[in-house]
Amino acid sequence: MRMPAKTSRLLVAVSLSAVVLLILAVIWLHQHNPSRGLPYRDTFSQGRADEWTAFGGTWELANGTMRNNSDERGAKLLTGSAQWQDYSVEADVMLLGLGGDAGLTIRSSGEEEGVDAYHGYYAGLRSVDDALAVGRADYGWSEIIFPLKPRGITVLASQWYHLKLMAVGCTFAVSMNRIGDDSITVATVNDPDCIPAGRAGLRSYSSGGVWRNVIIQKATQQDLQQMFSRQHPPHAVAPKSESQSSNLVVVPPLSQSNIPQALPSSPNTQPVSSLRFSSLGESKTATIRGIVALTSPVLVVQDSTGGVEVRCAQPQPLKVGDEVEVTGQIEAREFSSVLNNANVRVLWEGTPTPAVSVTATQAATGAFDATFIEVSGHLLQKHYGPDDTLVFDLASGSQSFRIILNRGRGNSLYKNLALDSMLRIRGVAVMDPVYTQGTVPFALLARSSDDFEVLAGPPWWSAGHLVLMGICLLLLAFIANILYHRIENMRVQAVAEEREHLAYDMHDTLAQSVAGIGFQLEAIRMNTPEELRHVHRQLDLASELVRHSHAEARRSIDMLRPQQLDSKGLLSALMHTAEHLVQGGNVQVIARTVGEPRTLSLRLNDALYRLGQEALANAVRHANPGTLQITLRYDDDTVTLTVSDDGAGFNHDAEAQGFGVQGMRKRAASIAATLQITSTEGSGTRVVITAPLAPRLTLMRWPSQLRKLF
């Protein structure tokens, strides 16, 4: 049984719609799967953290850990899916300073930069009151403070703690233990009107912090109960972290009681700018006081007069913004100095230096060597540098310079930054050839990807956009062309239909009436006595006039109603016309096609038919031919109609401009065709009409077509 075409089409449409809906449903389910991306384990040790998004802070990877050196209130780093529901997040956490807290967030959403600018839950270790703070943020903060176990334990800076936060339903459990210590603090909170889902993250408030071994996994009610009843910390995480971060600088923990006394700074401190000239020709020791502007890859300390690179005698856990006093041996360089074998004493923390806004030319002079600056430029190039760094080459006016960034979280920045974007970058300017490679006057050591600000994307007239625009214009032109031809065909079709209508009208009225008159005249003649010769002659004349009029009417009808006038029927229609014209005579009509016939537009068909008809009529009327030849030749981009005869011919110069020929030329011009008439007296006439065709686009013909275009 055969299915009707309409039903078949409907079935196909329904099937396609169902498939599309199914695909969309699968994508939606995948996106909203509460377990998508779980379990998760950080790749900080491999220097990868692209999946994390920062909201404030100076988040960077260092020795397999994620570090926020900033003392901002509520700097956050988020990862995961907003659809995550029941899961736990755990990590080793270290506070970098006192007077704040550091911890983990769970079920976070709607994050912005700001103090409590998110919706979600947070558990953190707080040094101010040596407690575990658990709370909920909704662009405002509500919290519960839990004392730590055992009683009297203090939260220290530079000390690793293991923190775990779990959410199952509307119950939240948090556990904390000092690494290496068996005592564990566990608490649960039930929030009846809880936030049901959200991402996981790291957060610090004022203290800065370091995180490692971040594990996020699905959690169940059983996990919750197990966590709450646990008396000893799990041992699965800590050993790996110790080995992974063996390079991490860990100093004896700082607490409120053993924090270095904030003594007045040394009276012998000197401005940083004076270092370059105070050690000329001799080895000298100097003491400066300034603020840490950069900790990696080099330590840079800056005061109001400039910056200096500091090479510490002993590694120290310094943060950007720490106000320090540095004593070391001066090594003068071309544009700045280095303090070698230096001792650094932290005076206080949390006073970050604002960047000095300079032009690239000002920075290129070396006046801002080892200084935290802000500079703008266009991104020319980006590539991976040595030691797992990302290198961005920029230009500003006639100056070019380079930005160097530790790969860490910069990977997504690297991927997303479009060439020729206008950027504003903050970082420490260095003139050292180690960084400039002798190719640019200065380089900028950026602290994190957050130091990049895109001021404007690349201009729209990029090569890619221009090509795209060209393609769009070509497509538009192509569509316009198609529409034009379609409208033109419709017009010609309408004209043809009107002509056919006229032809039918003429056939049914005028021709029939003329035929009727002829019959009536014949009847009169039959009934008229032979003696009335005069009347018979007049009747014969009238009958002849009627026949002539009838023939004319038929010819007009034929002219108005081309028979089977399509590309296949053009030749046969012309042949039919020729045969009709020479009917009763001794003229041979030969018609042939050369080449592969192609579909011709109605307009072209009609014009060629009219031109051929006129040429045939002229040949029959004036040349008295023995043979009429009609040839239709199809080439790649032209169609040629040739009508030739072997008749009397004519004097070309004298008759070529006749009214009929002018009409033919006009009609040929309307289809952008050429009309060529060649004739000599006694040797026949040849009429050649060559009309252009749209090129036949095939795979093999593309190269030749392109050559023609360009």
Binding site: G114, T185, F228, R230
Partner: protein
Amino acid sequence: MTESEHGGAMAAADPEHARIYWNAPTREDDIEGQIAMVERVANGGAQGLILVPDHTSALISPVRSALAKGIPTVILSSPLAMPPGDHLFYLLNDEVRGGELAAERVSSILHNHGKVAILGIDPDISGITTRARSLKETLARTDPGIQIVTDAIGSFNVPHEQQMAEETLKAHPDLDVIVALTAVSGHGALSALASSGNTHVKVIYYDPGDTSFDDPNLDSMILQDTRSMGYDAVRIILASLRNQPIPPQKKFEPTLVTRENVNSSKVEKLSYMEWRTKPLQWTWSIGP
């Protein structure tokens, strides 16, 4: 006391079904961050702006820009260096009275004889300089026998303020009272005294984060009525949107909180920290 302020704003907004967007820069001295936040809010379709400015003059342009967009703006606590009017309103802490309160408290402790240090002066915030001036003028007038040994510029950095306090204590071992003009400065002073073991010096400080009297050196605190400011600010915005007449400026008298009155209903109301209109119904336990 930002939670109280937030609570006041929420209490006024909730019955009117107004939505509050509440945020602050992650650093208290991040003026650029606050400017960016104001611009973002003004460009984000907010119908009103309530601002506690971090700087007297730097916030003028963004506030003018918000006003030009027809956004009624209420400045809380400390004024900008521009006059009120044309949809700009001030709800200010009465800093002159705040200075007088501290002076009266110092007077009651020292009885016209002793040494006082004033710490934490922030020239960027006009309210703080006003309270410092009022304190000094009142003391000079009422207790000329009291000597002000130092008045130090402060910051929003506790260790820095602690160091300033320690330097002051070293320079003036016979100091009697420290008046800290900010909470940060007050915490720094208390930390310095705690680490030195000094129990003689009394500390009076302004704008505390909470009203606990755990520290023996803490004498008293001067509290702004931030809850009323937050409440009135939202009411003003709503009234302005309804074209109702509003006085361009209003001052709120601060309150001296001492160990004696800390549990009074007035102080409890002033220091109530809950900002949600429907407090969280949390239950919790410590295990195992």
